[in-house]
Point group: C2
Chain length 354, copies 2
């Protein structure tokens, strides 16, 4: 039984506008401490424990060429391009059905492509535990030990220990209010749901058949056409009809054989410009600035500039500055979430720059 990675890289969020765009979403941007795209960092993190030939990327048709460029050593058949985004259950189900066909004993590690993990050994140890539990037949999720009372994430409630380092997952909990988040933070039984899942391809396909039979049906139709002249036609037509639901809601929350591996691994979902600043290497004034910038009396700023363009700032405190070809954003770091309001405004205008 071999472990395969499925890196999910189809998303197109708006929180890093104007750097992120539909065709250049967060996972393709070098927003972490390294100078590489987050997706490339994600793949590099897995390479020490999963061989390249077993690393797959699930993405959209729109992004698959860009991703092939970013990961030139990855064989093209390991990039799975969804014809249309239908949330994570169809994405994972489709990838599982393909991998199950290639290797009936495949064990899957499903990973988001746009997160940061700073403690690599801790992550690798947790993946090994998760792999074991998955081989035992569980649907496994990784739960991050909270480092603050965060209201922006879903949580997992952890039950009794099933094996060393492996617990029963009692339930999935939606984003809490601050009181509950504080309670979760103080307890040791609640973990952040980081969207990392581990299971045998067979196990998740069976669970899909049980909880999302319509999806199971669709995946079988798509599978039957695989390798035939109709493959792409069936994929495009049928994929668009699959139920649009997350693997969390559709399967994990309903199944009884769910295990959770608690882990502290310096994880961040890198959810805003604020988070990007927090994680970046900063200069002596806590600034993150493009090369050649001139900063006078400025501190705590995070700026993304353009090549061969000088940025000059005076008296700027804790600001985010993002300069791209067709948009310039300037806002206080602690208002990073207001980026969404701007993108909404652009959408309302019918402006394609969002």
């Amino acid at each position: 039984m071999k472990l395969y990675a499925i890196i999910m890289a189809g998303g197109s969020g708006t929180r890093f506008w104007p750097a992120s765009r539909k065709k250049n979403p967060k996972q393709l941007l070098p927003l972490g401490p390294s100078e590489r795209a987050l997706l490339v960092d994600t793949a590099e993190r897995l390479l020490p424990i999963i061989a390249r030939e077993r690393i797959y990327v699930a993405t959209s048709e729109l992004l698959s060429d860009r991703i092939a460029e970013l990961l030139p050593d990855l064989p093209r058949e390991q990039i799975l391009a969804e014809p249309v985004g239908r949330n994570t259950a169809p994405c994972i189900g489709w990838a599982a059905s393909i991998l199950h066909e290639r290797d009936p004993d495949a064990v899957l590690a499903v990973m988001p492509s746009d997160h940061i993990v700073q403690d690599l050994p801790a992550l690798h140890r947790a993946i090994e535990l998760a792999e074991l539990a998955a081989k035992g037949g569980s649907l496994v999720t990784m739960g991050i030990r909270p480092t603050r009372p965060e209201t922006g994430f879903g949580y997992l409630e952890m039950g009794e220990e099933l094996a060393p380092g492996v617990h029963r997952a009692l339930r999935f909990i939606e984003k809490p209010d601050l009181d509950r988040a504080v309670e979760f933070y103080r307890s040791s039984h609640y973990l952040w749901n980081a969207g990392m899942f581990f299971f045998q391809a067979r196990t998740i396909l069976d669970a899909i058949d049980e909880f999302l039979p319509e999806l199971g049906e669709g995946l079988r139709d798509i599978g039957k056409a695989r390798g035939t002249p109709d493959e792409l036609k069936v994929l495009r037509e049928r994929f668009a009809t699959l139920p649009e639901i997350s693997i969390d809601h559709g399967v994990m929350e309903r199944a009884s054989n769910v295990a959770v591996i608690p882990v502290s691994c310096g994880w961040s979902d890198l959810g805003s410009w604020q988070a990007a600043w927090e994680l970046a290497d900063k200069d002596e004034n806590d600034n993150v600035l493009p090369e050649g910038a001139i900063a006078i009396d400025s501190s705590g700023c995070y700026a993304i500039g353009k090549k061969d363009k000088v940025l000059a700032i005076v008296g700027m405190k804790d600001m985010v500055i993002v300069d791209t070809d067709d948009a310039l954003l300037i806002l206080p770091r602690n208002r990073s979430q207001d980026v969404r309001a701007i993108v909404e405004e652009l959408k309302a205008r019918g402006d394609s720059r969002f």
Copy 2:
């Protein structure tokens, strides 16, 4: 005796960096309330009282083509291109010698090209008075009645009235400290030196011969070569050797026949981004923003954007934002003077973007 304008448009200041550059200095930028270059506004202000064929622009070889484009109706021979900048005395002396040759009775109105005047009738009345006094043989300057205790300008002390609206100029005063500036502001005898001068070509050439004989000699050498095959060669060689001095220091402060016309005409030297904001048409939040900008909780900002680029700002108060192809400047409006420090830094780096 006819009045000719000499608009001085050779300067290349740094206070409007990064919008202003050596090849695109302040006078060529639309920084005033109109959407036209300041130089074009200056010419338009004079046209009601000085015919186009008597309006001259003195500038540098570097800028003369751009100026010809901006003023397409101005005959090219009315654009006088200095081979090298040597301050205002050589500039005005050279222009005076050319005009004196074309019209021995020429009366000159020497005007900066990068200022703002909002009360046009008041300016025109003052020019008429100045013209009369110049025809009477005086070296005439226009003095702006102070509207604040400004420490950034030179002043003129006004003496007895020589004719209605025309006073003897007792002395030129360097930029005062704040105490003296307050004293000047409270008195009615001190005026801002706005760099506007009126005299017969003959009068100023005589004064140059008296106070700057080396300049007079040089202008005669250049004049002798005019119309010969050597004209450009002599101009280039000889101009570079002329004494580099302002008309104020070199002539006006030393002469005894200096008159001053006090005037209130809504004048501004538009000396900084702060001044540009003060004079601009502002929206309901006191912002001056490029078309299509999105401003959330922002007020008192002055932003120059790029065509087809959206500017999005959140929580910005009283900031200046100037976005150009190769530089982006962001600073508080009340620190507009810090632009010089930035340009100095770029110069020190050997960066050509200043």
